[in-house]
């Protein structure tokens, strides 16, 4: 009799029309430890299981999660978070300020892959069980924006299982087990094969669809995933290959959900070279007119129409319009091959010159095809690009070794703020200060370097935006990069399935409604 009651009680607790979801993506998270992997596939899956102090809403805005409110301490000394009460982990442990302090120590440790989020943090204190104070070395207005993926772990559970610090190279208990506060708990994990999740009845929140159980399977081959969607073996796949989108759209019983990702695809230049890697003894790209000519030579709308089949948006700065700090009213160079040839002639390179053009072939959507198109367009204005593509596992080491001239790069700002690409792509490279770590071309602009710390510590939104606008204008005039387009998001789903698709490409199970 008691068993029956329990079953009835459970049934009552579940939302109407309980449903199961089978979804697939190309990449399996390499770990369940939220502090041992800093990549979108990890956060996408773990975001259903673990939670942070804050989270991103349907429109990417920051909203309360495990903290109900936050405010700056004093004059920008840090941030004070008020914690939600009555929150429990999947294992039944209560969540409190001690867990936050512990999660800070763990996430900011040397062994963590997310330590850079806490570069500006000086110390974290817990004056009482529901208050946490995070002190920063300088005012940090976007700190709450930068910790949406900082996930809280239970200090007791972690210590009992000997996972006090993340372990990227050897793994530990937290690599294959999870215990969060989120709306779903992991019931089975077979790395690389499948992950089973189940709705957590003790979750504090209310905003959820009807998914009570979910199975995630990585499917590496997109054609296989599309076939499985069409045959009804999967309910949701991501991504649908650009070239298959139209076909999937026409098929019965399935739909394509289109959106725009946060990732901007751009071309980079060899700013700091004195010669060319794949060319002569001088570096024509040091001349802004040559870089401008490249910008004018590329017909972005044509690339989007043919290679991307109309599913991407052109862009003229390093962030997409969906990001905080986007600069309005900026106009890019536009396709003008005559102007490009004029500029080249003015710069003394009317006859063109040879250089190397490198591209990954397994990193971004249709990256190789996009680069092939660009190669042709550059040849049409008289330049002589030596085009070479390679898998991403070789691509980054090649760029880091400075074996490149012009190269393709995609950037998705982890903080969803325009400051992020300035720090990583525009700041003069400086290992000590952890700046410009992805600025492979060595772009350097004293004014940008001066503005970056000011942007990072400016509390006033208007003044901050003015500085961001100045950087965007400066780097556009300087042609530090040639921003091309914002990468599209293409999901395939069963007809009638309702999802929320955000620019971060996360699959949020709690916003999914499966049709009866």
């Amino acid at each position: 009799m008691r068993i029956t009651f329990t079953v009835l009680a459970l049934a009552a607790a579940l939302p109407a029309g309980a449903a199961e979801l089978r979804f697939a993506s190309t990449t399996d998270p390499n770990t369940l430890d939220p502090h041992a992997g800093n990549s979108a596939p990890n956060f996408s899956l773990l975001g259903n299981v673990y939670e942070g102090l804050v989270r991103r809403g349907r429109d990417m805005s920051i909203e309360p999660a495990l903290a109900t409110a936050w405010e700056p301490i004093g004059d920008g000394e840090g941030w004070r978070f008020t914690l939600r009460e009555g929150v429990t982990f999947h294992g039944g442990e209560a969540f409190d300020a001690e867990d936050v302090v512990f999660s800070y120590e763990r996430a900011a440790s040397e062994q963590s892959d997310v330590a850079s989020w806490f570069a500006s943090v000086d110390r974290v204190e817990a004056p009482d069980a529901t208050t946490v104070e995070i002190y920063t070395t300088a005012p940090n207005p976007i700190f709450p924006d930068s910790i949406a993926n900082w996930m809280m772990m239970d200090s007791g559970w972690v210590s009992e299982n000997g996972a006090d610090r993340p372990n990227i190279e050897q793994g530990n208990f937290a690599t294959t087990n999870a215990n969060g506060t989120g709306p779903y708990r992991i019931t089975e994990r077979q790395p690389g094969l499948r992950t089973e999740m189940e709705a957590f009845d003790g979750w504090w929140g209310e905003d959820r669809g009807n998914v009570t159980a979910a199975t995630f399977q990585p499917v590496q081959n997109s054609a296989t995933a599309v076939a499985a969607l069409l045959s009804g073996e999967l309910d949701l796949i991501e991504p649908v290959p650009v070239q298959d989108a139209a076909r999937v759209e026409q098929a019965d019983g399935v739909q394509v959900i289109r959106g725009v990702e946060a990732r901007v695809i751009m071309l980079g230049f060899p700013h700091d070279r004195t010669d060319l890697y794949g060319g002569g003894d001088e570096n024509p790209f040091a001349d802004p007119r040559v870089r401008q000519a490249v910008a004018h030579a590329i017909n972005v709308p044509a690339i989007l129409q043919t290679v991307m089949r109309g599913s991407a948006e052109p862009v003229n700065q390093l962030v997409s319009p969906a990001m905080r700090g986007f600069t309005e009213g900026l106009s890019g160079y536009g396709y003008d091959p005559d102007r490009a040839m004029e500029l080249l002639a003015e710069a003394g390179h009317g006859d063109g010159f040879q250089f190397s053009f490198r591209c990954p072939n397994d990193r971004y959507l249709n990256d190789e095809a996009v680069c092939t198109a660009i190669t042709t367009m550059l040849s049409q204005v008289g330049l002589d690009p030596q085009f070479e593509t390679m898998p991403v596992a070789n691509y980054w080491p090649t760029l880091r070794a400075d074996e490149h001239d012009v190269y393709l790069l995609g950037w998705s700002p982890g903080t969803f703020d325009a400051e992020h690409p300035i720090r990583f792509l525009l700041a003069t490279p400086d290992e000590e200060a952890r700046l410009g770590s992805w600025n492979f071309g060595g772009y350097s602009n004293a004014r940008v370097d001066e503005l970056l710390p000011a942007i990072q510590s400016e509390i006033d939104d208007v003044a901050r935006q003015a500085m961001l606008d100045e950087v965007a204008t400066l780097t556009l005039e300087d042609v530090a990069y040639v921003p091309l387009y914002v990468q599209p998001l293409l999901w395939g789903a069963r007809e009638g399935l309702e999802v929320v698709q955000r620019p971060d490409n996360f699959v949020n199970l709690r916003w999914i409604t499966v049709p009866e």
Binding site: A36, E169, Q220, T224, E233, S437
Partner: protein, 325 residues
């Protein structure tokens, strides 16, 4: 005989060592694992720390020696991708590959020999000619295309069979099998056909050619003249004498079925070692790549050894130390 086996085993060990050496010298061309292990917000310090911890700063000879020393104690290291012991991962994935390989190998051998004999005996018949022409598809179409075609026809259009995965498996503790559940068996059909089709047509064509050759020999004519039944002539006398080349090819093909299940496994998302290896290459997961390559070379070496021994059993003339000279 014993000294023969010993000599072969010794040769095999040398082959293994050389394979390992070549593999390790190649790994640095696959890419830098650190790039995949750490996220975009990493610092140079993180990179250096991890590189040191993983021993990536050592020259490849040292890395290889380390690997061998640990492998001899049964420790194949820890996967970069999954942060778990490689041996554990391989044991988890092997059953899927072996089941698939043996089923498709079995199909290839039985159907291949049967059809080969049939087409040789009835070589002017309509059926034989149809079979011969269709078999061209098997030898000429690439595996992934056959796989995708099968998925499209039987998975997407007819919806008879699953398009990917292994279905429900039964865990026996040390082995997981898909042979005991309906969904497991259904899932096995398309990948097994895809993987075995090439081998089947190959064996069939080989058996047919050998049979035609043998059937022309004098002793077959004499056997017929002695009034032996067609069955006895064809199967006891002719077929047995076509077996030496067939065994060689079948043995080697079994090796390649396991080793080259990679493509089939990728197309069908079959959770075996081939898929694991492809993922390891993309992720530059050196411990997994090394262990997989060693495993495959051990297997090839073992199969070659067995094939050599089988020759001796089938063909008495090869018994060097033998009772008959």
């Amino acid at each position: 005989m014993v000294s023969y086996i010993l000599r072969r085993v010794l040769q095999s060990i040398i082959v293994l060592l050389v394979v390992g050496l070549v593999a390790f010298s190649m790994f640095r061309f696959v890419g830098d694992p650190i790039e995949q292990l750490l996220g975009q917000e990493r610092t140079q310090q993180d990179v250096e720390r991890l590189r040191e911890a993983l021993g990536l700063n050592d020259p490849f000879i040292v890395q290889y020696a380390d690997f061998l020393a640990r492998a001899l104690q049964g420790d194949f290291g820890i996967s970069y991708r999954q942060s778990r012991p490689v041996a554990e991962i391989l044991l988890e994935r092997l059953p899927a590959t072996l089941e698939l390989a043996f089923i498709s190998g079995f199909l290839a051998v039985t159907l291949g020999i049967a059809l080969g004999v049939f087409t040789a005996i009835r070589r002017k018949g309509v059926a034989a000619n149809v079979i011969m022409s269709t078999s061209l598809i098997g030898v000429s179409l690439p595996t992934f295309l056959i796989g995708i075609l099968l998925i499209y026809v039987f998975g997407v259009q007819l919806r008879w069979l699953p398009t990917f995965g292994r279905g429900e498996v039964v865990d026996l503790g040390w082995w997981t099998t898909g042979l005991l559940t309906e969904s497991g068996l259904k899932s096995l059909i398309l990948p097994a056909i895809t993987l075995g089709l090439y081998q089947m047509t190959l064996i069939m064509r080989l058996v047919r050619a050998e049979m035609l050759e043998v059937l022309r020999q004098d002793y077959i004519r004499f056997a017929r003249a002695r009034g032996l039944s067609a069955k006895a002539v064809n199967f006891r006398h002719a077929l047995k004498n076509t077996m030496v080349p067939v065994i060689t090819v079948t043995g080697l093909q079994l090796g390649s079925i396991i080793a080259f299940a990679i493509i089939t496994e990728t197309v069908f998302q079959w959770p075996g070692v081939g898929l694991l290896f492809i993922n390891a290459v993309q992720f530059v997961d050196i411990p997994v790549m090394a262990a997989y390559l060693m495993l495959i070379s051990v297997m090839f070496v073992a199969i070659n050894l067995i094939v050599d021994l089988l020759y001796v059993w089938v063909d008495p003339r090869l018994r060097v130390d033998g009772r008959t000279a």
